[in-house]
């Protein structure tokens, strides 16, 4: 190899320099369009709902949200979301109240107490509950749960606790808000439970060891170290469960019985935003009623978007806080 070879300029390779490939651009554009479409979808949903309900919005404005009325009689038409908003709030919150202790209990059981052999099966079983379609839970609610509640549980609770306005006289219809609450609790149980379980699993074992080494019991360690550590995430899980309960329409409409008006007796019948809309699927009699139903859907959308966004914000904030690990400088 002579010196001349070493000093000769390198042969030019083809395709040097940045060349924009058609294939790259094409894929990026197509994929980007899909992403854009997905992003825009949420806004589109909001817009279309506003569009579809504009007749009711222009006629009733925001007062619709709190008005307790639903009169489809032609000539005396008056619509409002108040009754159903109340129904949504009371069923969802009470369902969350019922489901939360059980869900957290299950999560604690799976992470702290369960023998290894039954950890996986029980986890799978609880998560399978989430896979049961809502219409089937509703079917079971109408034909199995509802009658049991109506003939046994509700009269018993009413006789014992009837002085509390919540536990008034059972309705004769066989459907009740109470059944809806139980059904909703069953549906949100798996969500809250599995998120909580992952949160508890994420508690660093050295924290628990440090607590146990002081001579505390398992429960004291859970209360003093595990719960505080997982607190933010569990809050997000609860909000997600609440959002799910608020959005559930099918199972609720199957068991809740229908009705307008605000009353505290959960053994009576009622409606939620979702169940009212689902109930009317066969069609509305007038354009105003149609628009009002869509307005109901809009209110529901705002509620569940609010819950969802709140949960996502909390999740991201908690992730950031736990990402900051021990101490700054050595």
């Amino acid at each position: 190899m002579s010196a001349a070879d070493v000093t000769a300029p390198p042969t030019r390779r083809p395709f040097t320099g940045r060349r924009v490939r058609f294939g790259d651009v094409a894929l990026q554009v197509v994929a980007g369009a899909a992403a854009l479409g997905a992003t825009v979808l949420v806004g589109l949903i909001v817009w279309k709902l506003v569009d579809g309900s504009h007749l009711a919005i222009s006629k009733y404005g925001l007062g619709f949200v709190t008005r307790v009325a639903w009169n489809p009689v032609i000539g005396h038409e008056l619509y409002g979301a108040g009754s159903f908003l109340f129904g949504t709030v009371i069923t969802s919150f009470l369902a969350l109240l019922v489901a939360t202790p059980i869900a957290i209990g299950i999560a604690l059981f799976l992470t702290e107490l369960a023998p290894r052999a039954i950890q996986a099966p029980v986890t799978a079983l609880v998560e399978t509950l989430a896979a049961v379609p809502s219409v089937l839970i509703g079917l079971w609610g109408i034909l199995v749960l509802g009658p049991v509640l109506r003939t046994d549980i509700e009269p018993w609770l009413h006789s014992g606790l009837g002085w509390i306005p919540l536990f008034g006289p059972p309705s004769s219809a066989g459907a009740s808000i109470f059944t809806a609450i139980v059904v909703l609790a069953i549906m949100i149980l798996p969500i809250v439970s599995s998120i909580s379980r992952e949160l508890f699993l994420g508690v660093p074992p050295e924290l628990k060891e440090g607590a146990l080494a002081l001579g505390t019991t398992r429960w004291e360690t859970v209360r003093g170290v595990v719960f505080p550590y997982a607190r933010g995430g569990v809050a997000a899980a609860l909000i997600l469960g609440l959002g799910r309960a608020m959005g559930e329409a099918i199972a609720v409409t199957q068991v809740i019985g229908g009705g307008v008006g605000i009353h505290w007796n959960i053994f009576g019948t009622g409606d939620t935003l979702g169940s009212k809309v689902a109930e009317s699927y066969q069609g509305a009699s007038t354009n105003l009623q149609s628009a009002s139903l869509i307005y109901l859907g809009l209110v529901l959308l705002v509620l569940s978007l609010g819950a969802n966004i709140a949960a996502q914000v909390i999740v991201r904030r908690v992730a950031r806080r736990h990402g900051v690990t021990r101490g700054g400088h050595a």
Binding site: E209, G210, A213, G215, T216, V225, R326, G327
Partner: protein, 281 residues
């Protein structure tokens, strides 16, 4: 012809000389202790006595089961599902390894400081106070916290920011916080599992001095892979090493246990001598 062994470890005289044997009070009597994970034995047939108000060091090469051994003293190995042990550890005359003894009661009296500092995500004050509150020592909490932090040589550095998070401290400070946390509940014995291995030399020195200052009130058992540290702080030293069984399986074994001075200047067992002179491990 006797060969004098040149100690490669300088035995400093920071600690007081060992009291005569008759005045030593036994606090733990370990007899025939085996520790087994699943089917593999981690340590076999350990027999020794630990004495009150002394610092006892456990040294040896990595993998010889030192951590497993010390965790037998406060039943922390119970947390591992495949763990089994045979043999006894007598504490105040009762076998704490027995299945009818509640580990919670054991840990109440025998505290532990871990290798990596693990303060709770609470304030500095709450880190120390939480244990006291839960265990029913609610009276005079402020004084208890101050006393514990002072004994852990941390009070001056944190007294103005007790509400700050425990995690905002440096590594050495966090470890001293963990020590304060452990002694706040007034245990009998404090187990230290390589407490300074994650710390810098200055932080290490603070912790060693702590042990010397406090051993009149507590009994310390410390696992360390640092021979110089054992030589500096320990009154008694136990040397563990890895032995091979008939089928070739490896397990940890207590080779020699004696006053630190003797272990490092005139060990009886050749394996001990090889280790402390740096010939292996």
């Amino acid at each position: 012809m006797s060969i004098t062994i040149e100690p490669t470890v300088r035995v400093e005289t920071r600690r007081q000389p060992l009291p005569p044997r008759e005045r030593l009070e036994s606090i733990f009597e370990v007899e025939g202790l085996d520790a087994i994970y699943g089917t593999k034995a981690a340590i076999k047939d350990v027999t020794m006595e630990v004495y009150k108000n002394l610092v006892t060091a456990i040294i040896g090469p990595s993998g010889c089961g030192k951590s497993t051994y010390i965790r037998c003293f406060n039943r922390m190995n119970d947390l591992i599902p495949t763990f089994k042990q045979t043999g006894t550890i007598r504490y105040h005359g009762q076998d704490i390894c027995a299945s009818n003894i509640d580990p919670v009661a054991v840990r109440r009296n025998i505290g532990m400081v871990f290798q990596r500092p693990n303060p709770f995500p609470k304030s500095i004050y709450d880190n120390v106070a939480w244990g006291c509150r839960v265990l029913g020592m609610k009276d005079g909490l402020d004084e208890r916290v101050e006393r514990a932090l002072t004994q852990a040589a941390l009070w001056d550095e944190v007294k103005d920011r007790l509400k700050a998070s425990g995690l905002s401290l440096s590594g050495g400070q966090q470890q001293r916080l963990c020590i304060a946390r452990a002694i706040a509940v007034e245990p009998d014995v404090v187990l230290m599992d390589e407490p300074a291995s994650a710390l810098d030399p200055i932080a290490t020195q603070a912790i060693e001095q702590l042990m010397l200052d406090l051993k009149s009130q507590y009994t310390f058992i410390i696992v360390t892979h640092n021979m110089q540290q054992a030589a500096r702080v320990a009154d008694m030293t136990a040397f563990f090493s890895i032995s091979r069984g008939e089928e070739g399986q490896r397990y940890g074994e207590l080779i020699e246990y004696d006053a630190t001075e003797k272990i490092f200047t005139a060990p009886s067992d050749k394996r001990t001598e090889d280790y402390v002179t740096g010939r292996f491990g």
